[in-house]
């Protein structure tokens, strides 16, 4: 048995679990977990701040995807982009929330499988277009749509973007995850053809599409049921 493994850093995980369970402020939970993990790995305060600071500057490319599109999206919202998206969906009589999101799931997953992951995304597609359209489609049928249903539809729109992206992109040969897997396996002396990894991802990708589409189909039934029970037609 290997006794040199330091198990103390696992305390950081405990802080995260406890913090989220107690519904503490997520940012404070993260900072507390940083402190506990650092001290458990026997870093002193200055060393820990240095590690955190270096990582903070190194990962500052991450928020660009979220923040850079906001100026354009915000301006378009001011001039009625959401209202336009809702009015457009109202003209398609057969559109329902579920059907619309199934179409979006298919587009998102297939385009990601061809490496076009930038079609979609939460700030530039879901907030201004997909979620308002999904909400609009339900509102056409049930003008007195409840807030609870509105929130459910929005959350499902975001979930659909995630599911399409995750289970599509890994089928694309040149995607980062495939490159990462190849590098790690090579490090262990195993040579794998990236094309094979991409191909063996297809059964899961298809399954994900079927399962999530089924849930979107059920969402329509759920909306209809909830609105009937509420007494509004």
């Amino acid at each position: 048995m290997n006794h040199t493994v330091n198990l103390w850093p696992l305390l950081g995980v405990a802080v995260i679990v406890l913090g989220f369970a107690l519904r503490a402020h997520p940012v404070l939970v993260v900072i507390a977990a940083c402190a506990v993990t650092g001290f458990a790995a026997s870093m002193d305060v200055v060393h820990l701040l240095g590690v955190l600071g270096a990582a903070f500057v190194k990962t500052r490319n991450l928020p660009l995807i979220l923040l850079l599109p906001l100026a354009a999206i915000g301006l378009l919202e001011r001039y009625g982009l959401k209202e336009h998206a809702q009015a457009s969906i109202a003209r398609i009589k057969s559109a329902t929330t579920g059907r619309l999101l199934i179409v979006y799931l298919a587009i998102r997953e297939i385009s990601a499988a061809f490496g076009l992951t930038s079609i979609g995304g939460h700030p530039n597609m879901v907030r201004p277009l997909i979620a308002p359209m999904a909400e609009g489609a339900a509102e056409n049928r049930y003008p007195a749509l409840t807030d609870a249903l509105r929130h459910r539809i929005r959350a499902m729109s975001a979930a659909t973007d995630n599911v399409g992206l995750f289970f599509g992109e890994d089928v694309f040969v040149a995607f980062g995850a495939i490159v990462l897997m190849q590098t790690i396996l090579r490090g262990e002396g195993i040579e794998v053809d990236p094309l094979h990894m991409a191909l063996w991802g297809i059964p899961t990708a298809v399954t994900a599409f079927i399962i999530h589409s089924w849930r979107l189909h059920r969402l329509d039934a759920h909306i209809a049921h909830a609105m009937m029970k509420g007494g509004q037609a």
Binding site: L68, A72, G80, V163, L180, E188
Partner: protein, 318 residues
């Protein structure tokens, strides 16, 4: 290279600084001083990140977290237009409103596929290591310009609108960034070794189905903890996948890797730690429950994880 990622750091830094100034001058924001300080500190990370000493940057991050964590970042007033005004301009502008919105993904796509190898005088047009981000940055700038031109609004109005959206996101803007820092710290502190050690020492993997299940569930669970499948894959593949599945059960490494990574993604769907995908959209869509997206995804992720275990079990030695 001609277009560097650094330029977009400066663009974002300038944007955050403007947001800080606007927050400071907004008497309707109940905590305008701490809000302004928060955004100004974040601007420093982008404007002066290369000159900050690591310790100073770390202290800055802790101060930002404390301001946000104790409710120091609040909303102001944004002079929004009424729904009627918005509906009128939506009717007037019609499908033209979609053009700037679509410029962002289209530019990103063209930049990261067609223009990625383009050079002038031996210089790459786009930063070769960050083609997607640089293309997205260009697309965002084109989109703002087009949107201003279409709506006859000023660039200053575009800044006010980005402040409205950034303020509504509030601390959710920095959560993914701080979680990425925590992820790196976990790696540095040897979290991977600790987890692999616990998994392999306490679970008996003599039964093939158990080994397969431990591998898939381990991927998902470790991703739930780290918030990132890329962090889980090396640990669980190195701890269970290669020694047990390939070593003992002669798994096809391609199948093991592909289904393993997808199991990790099931974890990504189920964790608030993947804030970019789960918490930020909840804030963007103005949902009262910040975990609403995670909660709704669990019912998709768990069945997919089960199917993954079955697929890996039956396809193991293909």
């Amino acid at each position: 290279m001609i277009l560097k990622l650094d330029y977009f750091y400066l663009v974002l830094g300038a944007m955050l600084l403007m947001i800080a100034v606007m927050a400071l001058r907004d008497p309707h924001n109940p905590k305008r001083y701490s809000s302004a300080l928060f955004w100004a500190l974040y601007a420093v990370v982008y404007l002066a990140g290369d000159w900050l000493s690591p310790v100073a940057a770390g202290a800055l991050m802790v101060v930002m977290a404390l301001i946000a964590g104790f409710g120091g970042v609040t909303l102001g007033r944004y002079g929004e237009r009424s729904p009627e005004q918005r509906r009128d301009s939506a009717q007037r502008l019609g499908h033209k409103l979609l053009i700037p919105a679509l410029i962002i993904p289209v530019t990103t796509m063209i930049g990261s596929t067609l223009l990625k190898d383009v050079t002038f005088d031996g210089l790459f047009l786009l930063d070769p290591k960050n083609t997607t981000l640089v293309s997205l940055g260009c697309g965002s700038l084109f989109a703002v310009a087009t949107a201003c031109w279409l709506t006859r609004a000023t660039p200053l109005q575009a800044m006010r609108e980005s402040r409205r959206l950034v303020d509504h996101l509030g601390w959710a803007v920095v959560l993914p960034h701080m979680l990425a820092v925590l992820g790196l710290l976990f790696t540095e502190a040897g979290m991977g070794k600790a987890v692999a050690h616990v998994v392999t020492s306490y679970i008996n993997m003599d039964v093939k189905l158990v080994a397969v299940a431990v591998y898939c569930i381990g991927m998902a669970l470790f991703t739930v903890i780290m918030g990132n499948g890329f962090a889980a894959f090396p640990v669980i593949a190195g701890g269970v996948g290669i020694p047990v599945l390939v070593g003992v059960y002669h798994a096809n490494p391609a199948v093991m890797a592909a289904i393993g990574m997808f199991s990790a993604y099931c974890g990504t769907l189920m964790t608030p730690m993947a804030a970019n995908f789960n918490i930020v959209p909840a804030a963007l869509l103005e949902l009262p429950d910040k975990n609403a997206v995670v909660k709704i995804q669990v019912a998709t992720a768990l069945p997919i994880l089960l199917v993954n275990i079955a697929l890996l079990y039956f396809l193991l030695d293909m």
